[in-house]
Structure formats: C-alpha cells, structure tokens
Amino acid sequence: MEGFYGVMHGLTIAATPTHMLYTLIGVFIGTMISHLPGIGPSAGIALLIPVTFGMDPTTALMMLIGIYYGCMYGGAVTAILLNTPGDAAAVMTVLDGYPLARAGRAAATLAIAATSSFIAGMIGVTALSFIALPLAAVALKFGPTEYFALIFFALSTVSALNGESIAKGMMAVFLGLAIGTVGIDLQSGVPRFTMGLTQLQDRVSFLVVVVGLFAIAEVSRMVEGHLGGHMHAVKVKGRIMFTRKEFGLAWPAALRGTAIGFFCGAAPGLGGTIAAMLSYIFEKKISKTPERFGKGAIEGVAAPEAATNADSCGAFVHLLALGVPGSGATAVIMGAFIMYGIQPGPMLFQTQPDLVWGLIASMYIGNVMLLVLNMPLVGLLAKILYVPTGVLICVILGIASAGVYSFHSDPFDLYLALGFGVLGFAFRKLGIPKAPLLFGLILGHTLEQSFRQAMTISRGDASVFLRSPIAAGLLTCSALMFAASVWRKRRPSRTLQEAERRIKGEDESPEALLTIPPDLGADSGSFTRPAAAGRRP
C-alpha cells in the first residue's frame, strides 16, 4: 500500500502546471530525437543536460526522464516508415513494421506501436512503484561490503553482456574506472593522474565524457552515412487507427512483451535491445502461424515495442532503489542526478520522497502525453525525417559545443569532449561497447569508496567480502555471469542467431539496409543504417 500512497503523493507533485509542462517538453523532445537517425537517448539526454542547469532538480529530472521514454516510444516510427530503427532497441520492430507499412498499413502499425508502448509504459511504471520501495528497504541494510559487491556485480554484468567480446567490454569498464580515478582523492586529499592540470583536480566532468562519447562520436557516424545512399520512406496515409482484429492480436503480445521487457530492464546490463529480441523470438515460438513473422505480423510489432518500453521502466527499479543504472541511457540519467547533488539509491526514498515519487508519477503522465502526441500527430512528427542530414550534423555539433562550454566556461572542456569524441569513434570502429565505460566512470567513485571503507572496517582483511552472505552471493553471481557469458559466446543461442539472420536477411530487398549494431544490450544508443543512412530523398 505504501507504493500506492507514494504514487498518489507523487501525482500531486507531478500534476502541477510547471512539472506537466516540462514533462511534455521532455517527451516531445524525446520523440523528436528518436525520429532522427543518428542520435540515441544517451546522446539526446546528454545534449540537453546543460539546458536544465538553472532548473529545480525535480523539474529538470522530469524533463530528462521524459526525453528517455519519449525516445523509447518514437524509435518505432523510423523503424516502421524508414526500415531504420530510431534507436538500437527498436531493431526488432523493423522486421514486421516495415513490411506492414509497405503493405499500406503504416498508420495502423504506428497506432499499434504507440498503443503497445502505452500499455507497457503504464504497467511498467506500476510495477516500478511497487517493487522499488521494498527493494530500497532491503538495500538500506547494505553496508560498504555489500555495496562494493553489488556494484562489482553490475559492472561484471554490463561488461559480460555488452558487445561481442567479453574482453572488450571488460576493457571498457576498466577504462571508465581509470578515468574515474582522475582528480583529488577525497579520503587522502592527494591529486591523482591530473598531470598538473587544475581543470582535472575536480575529476573528469561526466557531461564532457558523455557528450564526447555519444553526441560528438555519433556525428562521425552521421557523416559516414551522409556520404551514402538514399532513404525510402513510406508515407503515412489515412487515420492513425487499427482494426479490432489487429488489436485482438496485438494486446496479448503487448502484455507478454511487457513482462519480458520489465524483467530484462530490472536485470542490470541486459538493455532494451535484448528485451525486444527475446520478446520477438518468444512471440514467434508460441505463434500458431510463425511463418507470418518477418512478413508483417502485428504481434511482431506489438511485443518488441512493449518490451522496449517496459524495459525502460524496469531499468529505473535499480537506479532508484539501488543507485545502479541498468543501461547506457539510465547511466546518463544517473549522472544527471549526481550533477544535481542527488545520489540515487535506497536513501532516496527516505530523504527525497517528493522527488522520487514525483518522478514516478510523472512517468504516468508522460505516458498519457506520449499516446496523445503519437496517435494524431505521428504524421506531422514524421516530417522531421526529411530534415537534411547535413543540417543535423551541424546542429548537433553546435549544441554539443555550446552545452559543454557553458558547463565551466572553459575551452579545456571542449578539447576534452573532442578527445572523447575521437575515442567514441575508435570504440565504434573497433566494436567496443560504450556503455561499460560509462558505468565504470559513474560507479567507479562509489566502488572505490565502498572498497576502502570495507577494508578500513575489516582492518585490511579482504576476506570480509566472503564473510558477508550477500556480498559473497553477489560476487559468486558475478563469477557465474562471467562464466555463462563465456559459454554463451562459444555457443550462441540458436534463436538469437536466427533473429540476427532474419535481420541480415532483409538485405535481399533493395530498400533494406539494416545491420545489427556491434553494441547490442545496455548501450541503447543510436542506430544508423550502414552505407545508406543520411541523404534524404
């Protein structure tokens, strides 16, 4: 019942005109961002963090979170109309969404995607409201030993499940941890790895890393796409509504997708792409007519869309209750929390109930707004697809530069952001996932503090991590996760292979130019078609 009262209390905060206005702005911007192939939710949120600096933290976070689930909603539009997912999580929607659109059912498919997202969003937020609080109560009993083990587990998961190579994921995590150690050590006051630069004494700015790694690096992807071929967009005709038969097929699939998506979101590191993939495969497995999948099955749109949106709600469970992000985008949101001086975690429900319940309640309001926004206005919003890529590249670089400079009014931040942009480009070329680096950077400080506190309490005895049953359990889970992912790499799931083949198989048609991103999983970043992105017809 406490969760119910919490939501009711949150609604009184989120339903104020200012908060509703900023939630609307957030979901609108999120929807627009998702319509722009090249910018994912992580880059979109990172670009807009500087704009929220002067705001009240609750209002700012409502807007940023609105951008996140706005992106999750809108990723389907480009998937259905352009055969290119707006973000990596919408990858499975392409399989049936585009054939349906080509068959003249574009409007109905968009309506199914929006409705499935709405169903998943509402159920997901409800589950979040009732699960986060008990989980936070359990986490309150955690000491530094357990916290160290929990963060270690989250980092192991994200490095093991992201990308195609465990070693590369691991390397990205350790690189993030290494960057996190730059600056003055708070316990001893010793400056570490600052190279004599005063700008680095206060640690490497999270915003600089995120803007460089996601926004500036994404520009390189867009530049490459710009030099490619053409897009073939399906026009939206008629009323944005589905038939009764279509809805009859869609709603059970959406419910199943919601369940799968929420559990994937609640497991740190899995991410929306895997949720969408699993739900699609599940739908195909249980279907009496699996041959329809890939040719325009409505369940093939409803289930992954619901899974993606439920996953974004699930990711907030451990972000709010444990202070551990679940995906690249929630890691960026966690960074925003920290920049506002708010530490997400179990204490949040005790110290900032207005904020946490206000945020959860704003998700209900945002979901309703998104449904209203997406159903009648989708045709209008789809016009964004025709903004020339050349203009987008310049605008993204311009916003990124202005945002980074405004942070400290110091060009050093700009040089650093450009450096991280180059690093992001190298990561993409070498198939290294970016999300693990972000996790390492954000969680590194807490990991080190917990480690040192635990060791101080135990007077330097490392066996303290094995004496605590929770810590020992989490460390064992980390080891099992690592072993399981090694096994998975050796013997990839047949169903996943099949899904990948189906996506690649789309290459048979001249318009289909889709590939799977190298960083499937928690890095729910952007997605651009390989050679033919960019240039608009």
């Binding site: 190579s165 465990i166 995590v173 690189l175 001893s188 605008v395 040192r452 060791m455 690649k504 050679a531």
Partner: protein, 165 residues
C-alpha cells in the same frame, strides 16, 4: 606485407595505457591516516584489470585465428564502405575534426557569435551544398538562439571575444 589486425593495435594501446597508468600510480604518495589502502591501491587494481583485459583479448584473438574458417559474413556497418566512399569518409571526418578543433581553440578569443557563425557556415556549406539561403538562415538563427538561451535564459554567458570591445 601482412596487414596488422586492428585488435592487435588495440591490445598494444591497452597495454601501453595500463603500464603508463600503473607507473603514474606508483609515483603517488602511499601515506594514509586510518585508511589501510591509501590512494594507490584501487588504481593499481584498475591497472591490473586493464592488463588482464588485454590478456583476455589476446586469448580471444588466438581462439579466433584457430577457429575453422567460416563463410564470409555480410558486411557489418562501416566495413561495408570500402573503396572511394570509405576514403572520402575518412578525409571528411578528419576535416570535420580539425575544423571543430580550430573552432574550440579560437572560441574564447574571437567570441561565440562570430566563431560559431563561421564554424556552422563552413560545415553547412560542405554538408548542405548549394542551399545558400537555408544555410545562412540556419547558421544565423542557431547562433543567435543558442547565445540568447545560454546568456539570458540560463545565465551562463558565452564568450564575447572581439564583440566585448
């Protein structure tokens, strides 16, 4: 001559970075009051982790080279762009990076308004060729709106540079 694999270059870079990081860590003072670990131990573990990841990459590379040759897969992402387009992309990206670096270096001295106008004007004239009016409107409108947003709405003035005189 045999082409060096990008993964081999990555491994070398990781090892070099880890060694430099561990060396810099060894220069830190070890003293700590009431903290049995001090400021050096955690970075040492991180450096060790980086080296371990490099070793794992070597293992993966060896395992990959020993695996039976598979049928060539469909080109993924950027690998699809071999040939002239790929070379053009590389030159364009290098040009964009240099142009952006020049913008950042001159931003404070010249000022946000002038610098951003020139920066965006240059980029737009390359990426959106032939649309002079659109490019001019986008560059001017974007610069003025962003400057007004940060200076007046958010209270973080952008660099004035030459216009401050």
């Amino acid at each position: 001559m045999k082409k060096i694999s990008p993964d081999a270059v990555l491994i070398a870079c990781v090892v070099l970075f880890a060694v430099a990081y561990l060396w810099a860590d060894s220069l830190l003072p070890a003293s700590s009051l009431g903290d049995p670990l001090g400021p050096r131990v955690f970075p040492a573990l991180v450096g060790g982790g980086l080296l371990l990841s490099a070793v794992l990459m070597v293992v993966e590379l060896v395992a990959k080279s020993r695996a039976p040759a598979k049928a060539p897969e469909a080109p993924v992402e950027d690998d699809a762009q071999d040939g002239p387009t790929s070379r053009q992309s590389a030159w364009t990206l290098a040009g964009v990076a240099l142009w952006t670096a020049a913008y950042y270096v001159t931003l404070e001295r010249v000022g946000y308004l002038i610098c951003t106008l020139v920066f965006l004007g240059g980029l737009l004239s390359y990426f959106n060729r032939g649309r002079y009016w659109v490019n001019a409107i986008v560059a001017i409108a974007f610069t003025l709106i962003v400057d007004a947003l940060f200076t007046y709405a958010l209270g973080t003035p952008m660099a004035e540079g030459w216009l401050s005189i």
